[in-house]
Amino acid sequence: MTLKKFAVTFALGSIALLAAGSVEAQDVHINAAPVGSPSVESGESHIGDITGHAENGKKLYRRFCVGCHGVDGNGQGENAQWINPQPRDFTDAIFKCRSTPTGTLPTDQDLYDAVTRGFVTTNMPQWRPLTPYQRADLVAFIKTWSPRWAKEKAGTPITIPPETPVTIDSILRGRAEFQKLECWKCHGPQGHGDGPSAATLTDSKDQPIRPYNFSTGTRFMCGETNRDLYRIFMTGLDGSPMPSFADVVKPDEGWDLVHFLRTMQPLKTEEKRLWIDYAKAHQNDIKPIGPDAAAGAQ
């Protein structure tokens, strides 16, 4: 008898729910793509052999992203006011971590990597636990926020030549470059993010921003390998004070700089080991990096 009662209620309930479910259960308070950009439905992303679809990404955006990035995709989610650095404003289509030259749009792979890897020291989590399909869908949806994606193609990824060997000479040349290129003006002589210009840095939205502190950083914003580091200063971090050095640094010099930068991080790397050995042997010879023009030259 109780089973009959259950069946009746279950049936009534199911009918009610089916009625409810037959309504298009799309969320209604997420803005669709802004005027002038490709429609949400036709937006796609291509990462490897996975195709992402903006329509699915829209549902995922609501679940995972809206709290920070906002219902309008402009980085003004409900939590944005308590977050530093501020969440990315997708309507500008300006992205920090790219494989493409400064001023150009990132590739789908760049956006996918950014979502997967997150941004260390920020509130942007590593979304790696999402399936690759979900991440590809999110990339496709993110691209619908700005009309630039309809009018411009993504930039051509820069060519990263094979890495040169890690030697103390490479590190010393890199150190000379760090001096010559005046990286220390923002990053500080020891890479602590305390250079003379560090305190006044603002990003492209006029928000104060701090340069990367090599001495505490276990990862970079845009990756963790030497290749990632090479790419950072060869493409610049658009939207931030970090410029592109592609026009002024040759590939070999770029690798030298990478090797030197590694010595400033608290990691057990080959570069660090070589540098420590050298520093012990040449304590009195090493000139500090800084405003003195001859410093750093070795």
Binding site: I94, T102, E182, D238, P243, S244
Partner: protein, 239 residues
């Protein structure tokens, strides 16, 4: 004999007409000139402290002043871009490059007008690195490092926009690229005066843009080779 003369004359006339037709657009001889002034109280321009960059600081006997509202004698406003915003045929992209210098940790000129797709060359004349960071919103925003001794950065913009330019390393550096569709523009000098030359006859809308106070527009009609006066007055506020 006379026939040859006439033929030669006819050919000459045809050639010269052709030159006129196929060369630069009919350069009219109308001129719009005037002065840009302000009423009210503008902010005081402050001296810039360049002590963090000694190689620049020593280039200035007296500190350079900020330039967001640069005033001159007779309540004039300098660095106002006056340009034809409507009525111009906008034909032809100038091929001559315009030049932007970073010198003494200042942008020279403070406001640089240029045409859409006109080549732009940016030079670093200082002994310090600058990063050149034009904050375009309609055009592409990019950011490049330019150490001393490096070659010019050659680029151009393909959409009209007033683009603020900054250097992150030297936060006091502010400048503007005024990318304009028209080739008829001028920037007011120290006395606030401007002159836009070479205007064919027609009805024009003239706009004056000041970086802090925005736009003012006027309609001016040119018939023939006359000089019309158009003055602009901005209401200045102390902040």
């Amino acid at each position: 004999m006379r026939l040859k003369y006439f033929v030669a004359l006819g050919v000459a006339v045809m050639i010269s007409s052709a030159m006129v037709v196929f060369a630069t657009p009919p350069a009219g001889s109308g001129v719009i000139s005037g002065k840009v002034t302000y009423t009210g109280t503008p902010p005081k321009m402050k001296p810039i402290d360049m002590s963090k960059e000694p190689s620049c600081a020593k280039q200035h006997a007296t500190p350079v002043l900020t330039q967001n509202v640069t005033t001159g004698p007779g309540n004039s406003l300098q660095w106002v871009v006056v340009y034809i915003s409507a009525g111009d045929d906008n034909s032809g992209t100038p091929t001559q490059a315009v030049r932007y210098d970073q010198k003494g940790c200042e942008y020279l000129p403070h406001v640089l007008p240029m045409g859409v797709n006109q080549p732009l060359q940016i030079y670093n004349d200082d002994q310090t690195s600058h990063n050149i960071h034009p904050l375009a919103k309609v055009n592409q925003e990019w950011n490049k490092s330019q150490p001393p001794g490096s070659p010019s950065i050659d680029t151009k913009y393909d959409k009209p926009e007033f683009i603020p330019v900054k250097c992150n390393i030297h936060p006091w550096m502010h400048g503007y690229f005024a990318v304009l569709k028209t080739s008829h523009y001028a920037v007011t000098g120290e006395d606030g005066s401007f002159e836009i030359k070479g205007l064919p006859a027609g009805k024009y809308t003239v706009t004056a843009w000041q970086e802090q106070y925005g736009n003012k527009t006027q309609d001016v009609t040119i018939s023939g080779s006359e000089t019309k006066t158009a003055n602009f007055v901005f209401t200045a506020t102390p902040y």
